[in-house]
Symmetry: C2
């Protein structure tokens, strides 16, 4: 039987709030078995950019990562957020090690090709070094990833944290029985967006298509669910969507996705 | 015979200058054998603090690391400087991995006790995890340390990069035949401070005492040489002091210190 691995992604809203972060890290530290954390950085980067008078450039509502912005992201996600999480996990007896995709060449990517829009220094992932991660896990380390990859030519690249989590889970799925957890502000996929408890507890492929057709999965949930099924189609055992409480041993109210 | 290990410390003046950093990293990448890099952050942190309107607090000319300052240092040393160095070394075929002392619990420290002055969040090192570093080196990783340690209770601590380099060299000296390199702006210990080529090539303990008595070792060189001999007295094989060129295979003009 293969060892179990949990890949957990937390969103920026948890990172921004010291108390929420502490609750999350305590819960994460108690999660049994091998584990990897992937974190976004939330509004901290925008806040720092504003303080430094660096304008956020948006085209069609999408952020452009110019040279100054990739520096800001490296400071905030790779530095402040990542090292604070690592130090706090150490205090909770988890031997955390913070990584960007450049560290140990763990996430190799290329700059997104320019079609209509040049998104700047944004990375599309090519490969995860699952041997490295297996080695780190085998010496009792818990990798903590910020949402940064690199191109192998010296350039750091801003990379979507949901995608990093999915690619890591996929990369590890041939070695471990891997569960991917997406923690966000809701308790799961909601049947009724105005009712926080209307969680759809189980979603398989037919149910997924039904929810898409009915418009229950809409807006920001479309790419999130797409990531989930992409992971499932690539050997990830199951994907769970919910708030932090889903990591508790006896949690019930969250969404589990299987093919 | 034990494997050889080089522990190299570079100063802030190299980090601040893109071209100088590239020259250094190319030289470092060609250095044979196992190696570990320790870097300071130089004036980048002060520059960011100034831009953010955070005052640098000095007491008797010594910097006080308050809460805001430790955040700045974590962003600049642990984020920007460390990840840029790692990404650039990856492009030079070195499988670098960036670490603060919190990562893998690699450098455990305590906040400097308050006597006359409270230096704030400044770390005095208690221990280096040489097993972790040996494990990382054994899977072909090159650890790149920023000058940050942690106290095990969730607090990151600003820590002198020269001291980190010495403590790492000492921690590894029981396992490897360890050489400690301090790269700085001079070619070594100078007999005549106005003559850059007046390098004292070899210093042993009697010579050290002589140079101290004669005032040749003065000012900022006193703590630097103290660190060197402290390392030598704790099983480090030799210590070399000079500019970046001393890492070249055929380098001649630098200072070598032995007991």
């Amino acid at each position: 039987m293969r060892d179990k691995l949990s890949v957990v992604k937390i969103g920026g809203n948890v990172i921004e709030d010291e108390k929420a972060l502490d609750v999350f890290l305590t819960t994460f530290s108690k999660l049994e078995g091998l584990k990897i954390l992937v974190h976004g950085g939330g509004k901290l980067a925008t806040q720092l950019a504003t303080k430094l008078g660096i304008e956020s450039k948006l085209i069609d509502g999408r952020r452009i990562t110019d040279k100054d912005t990739v520096d800001i992201i490296t400071m905030v996600y790779g530095g402040l957020a990542n090292k604070k999480i690592v130090a706090q996990l150490q205090s909770k007896n988890i031997n955390a090690i913070g990584l960007s995709g450049a560290d140990g060449n763990s996430i190799h990517a290329h700059k997104r090709p320019v079609k209509d829009i040049d998104y700047g220094f944004v990375g599309d992932i090519e490969s995860i070094d699952s041997d490295l991660l297996t080695n780190l896990l085998s010496i009792n380390l818990t990798p903590i990833f910020c949402a940064i990859s690199h191109d192998g030519n010296g350039q750091l690249l801003n990379t979507n944290a949901d995608t990093i989590a999915a690619e890591i889970a996929i990369g590890m799925a041939s070695i471990y029985e891997t569960t991917l957890y997406y923690c966000f502000e809701k308790k799961g996929v909601l049947l009724d967006i105005t009712d926080d408890d209307s969680v759809v507890k189980h979603i398989n492929t037919p149910k997924y298509n039904e929810l898409l057709a009915d418009g229950i999965i809409a807006d920001g949930m479309i790419p999130k669910l797409h990531n989930c099924f992409y992971a499932l189609q690539n050997n990830v055992e199951k994907v769970c969507l919910g708030d932090v409480s889903m990591l508790n041993e006896n949690a019930e109210l969250f969404t589990t996705l299987k093919l």
